[in-house]
């Protein structure tokens, strides 16, 4: 001790070196062990607070998930409403926005119920559309609700043309077919001489007296080619998402009255 104190140069002592050499592994081990022990007790100590924190985080996560879901729904609704607004601007016909409140409970028919009726100016046979295309027509009206027959119903129908109205001669009519299911409709009476390809757009012609001309119906998905004497068999996927309808618009459209001739036509009376 005295020798060590008197050493002014501060040289390292062999005793210290050796002690340090042998003691350091033990110290390391003991340090690790004590660290682990302290950590273990700390973990136990923190366990209760961790569980509470976990609950809080779970709650926050579920809230965040709900918010994300609501935001997605709002976004989808926004898109649908934008599409309806665009449609309004394009076709320049007054319309009433409506929400789908029910679907046919019997599963045998393709009808929906919307939350607008006669109080909103809706009458029978008015066309119902979405931004994607036509949905169907109003078949029953009550003061605050209306029943709509979807275009996929066998009893529904619409005058249609493949391609642009006025540029294409592929005229026919679309209607639902029970064996095709909800997602597909059939177009009939299109001359076999007309060129129709899968992917072509189908529009309304306005000749049915229900739908205004130029509305989108859907896209051709399959064509069974006809001939000079046989019409094409065309399958169409409706542009409107008929399985997931939520927001629609009822067009307050009255088809133009066809003028009746003042005098009967010459061949109106059968002569023998």
């Amino acid at each position: 001790m005295a020798v060590d104190a008197r050493d002014a140069n501060g040289e390292q002592k062999i005793l210290r070196v050796w002690t340090q050499t042998f003691a350091s592994p033990l110290q390391t081990a003991s340090s690790k062990a004590s660290g682990a022990t302290v950590g273990f007790f700390e973990q136990i100590w923190n366990f209760r607070s961790t569980a509470a924190e976990n609950e809080q985080l779970k709650e926050r996560l579920s809230k965040a998930e709900a918010e994300v879901h609501a935001a997605r729904q709002a976004e989808a609704e926004n898109e649908r409403l934008k599409a309806l607004l665009n449609l309004n601007e394009q076709i320049d016909i007054k319309s009433v926005p409506a929400r789908v409140i029910a679907r046919d409970p019997s599963v045998w028919f393709n009808t929906i119920t919307i939350n607008r009726g006669t109080t909103s100016g809706i009458t029978q046979n008015m066309p119902v559309v979405t931004g994607g295309g036509i949905v169907g027509r109003v078949i029953t009206v009550s003061p605050w609700a209306s029943q709509v027959m979807l275009i996929t119903d066998e009893k529904a129908g619409a005058g249609a043309v493949v391609g642009q109205l006025g540029q294409s001669g592929a005229l026919g009519s679309v209607r639902g077919r029970a064996d095709l299911g909800v997602g597909i409709i059939e177009m009939r009476y299109v001359s076999g001489l007309e060129t129709v390809e899968a992917g072509d757009n189908v529009m309304t012609t306005g000749q049915d007296g229900i739908y205004p001309p130029g509305l989108n119906i859907g896209k051709v998905v399959d064509v069974k080619k006809g001939s000079a004497t046989q019409a094409h068999q065309i399958l169409i996927q409706p542009g409107a998402q008929l399985d997931h309808l939520e927001d629609v618009a009822v067009l307050l459209y009255r088809p133009p009255q066809r003028s009746t001739p003042q005098q009967p036509l010459q061949n109106a009376e059968r002569t023998r």
Partner: protein, 180 residues
């Protein structure tokens, strides 16, 4: 069976029928009003079964795109046929209810579609596929619902089952005596 209970159960079944399709489309294949009609018909309550069948059918008809009255007719006829069968054959056994429910579903759908086709109003969905889905859904769910209805309207139905068992036992025990 309390008429109030029947009215409440009928109301719930109609509300379920009208609203469950919004939740998930395949749930519409479960015909809740028909299950209630079958249950009441199995209790051999003729008038109640007929009235419930008519009411349930008419209300669902009014909300659907089909002909008003077709569902009412099909459910009333189904109720009567089940009631008639229940008076002739003992259908109190829970296992026997399964084929009864299945038969009722097929009969009800067949009559409904028959009327629509007859009057030039064909349904908008494939017949065989739809009737198959309805058969499976209504039979599976209906079997469970009938158990629940048993619990709700337990009093008289349990008593009736007990009497039916006693009658069977009595017949068995008196059989040899008669022969002598």
């Amino acid at each position: 069976m309390s008429q109030l209970k029947i009215a409440a159960v009928l109301l719930i079944s109609i509300v379920l029928q009208l609203s469950l399709r919004e939740v998930w489309r395949p749930l519409a294949y479960i015909d809740f009003p028909l299950i209630v009609v079958v249950y009441i018909a199995l209790q051999r309550e003729a008038w109640q079964a007929l009235v419930v069948g008519t009411l349930a059918g008419l209300i669902v008809d009014a909300r659907s795109g089909g002909l008003i009255g077709a569902g009412g007719f099909s459910k009333t006829l189904t109720a009567y046929i089940i009631f008639f069968a229940a008076t002739k054959v003992n259908l109190e056994n829970p296992l026997l209810r399964i084929p009864v429910l299945a038969a009722a579903t097929v009969l009800d759908s067949a009559i409904y579609v028959f009327w629509h086709r007859l009057l030039g109003y064909p349904p908008g969905v494939p017949f065989v596929q739809t009737i198959s889905y309805k058969l499976i859904a209504t039979t599976v769910v209906g079997t469970l619902v009938l158990y629940m209805l048993d619990a709700v309207m337990s009093g008289e139905s349990a008593q009736r089952r007990q009497f039916a068992t006693r009658r069977r036992v009595a017949r068995r025990s008196t059989g040899p005596l008669r022969r002598r």
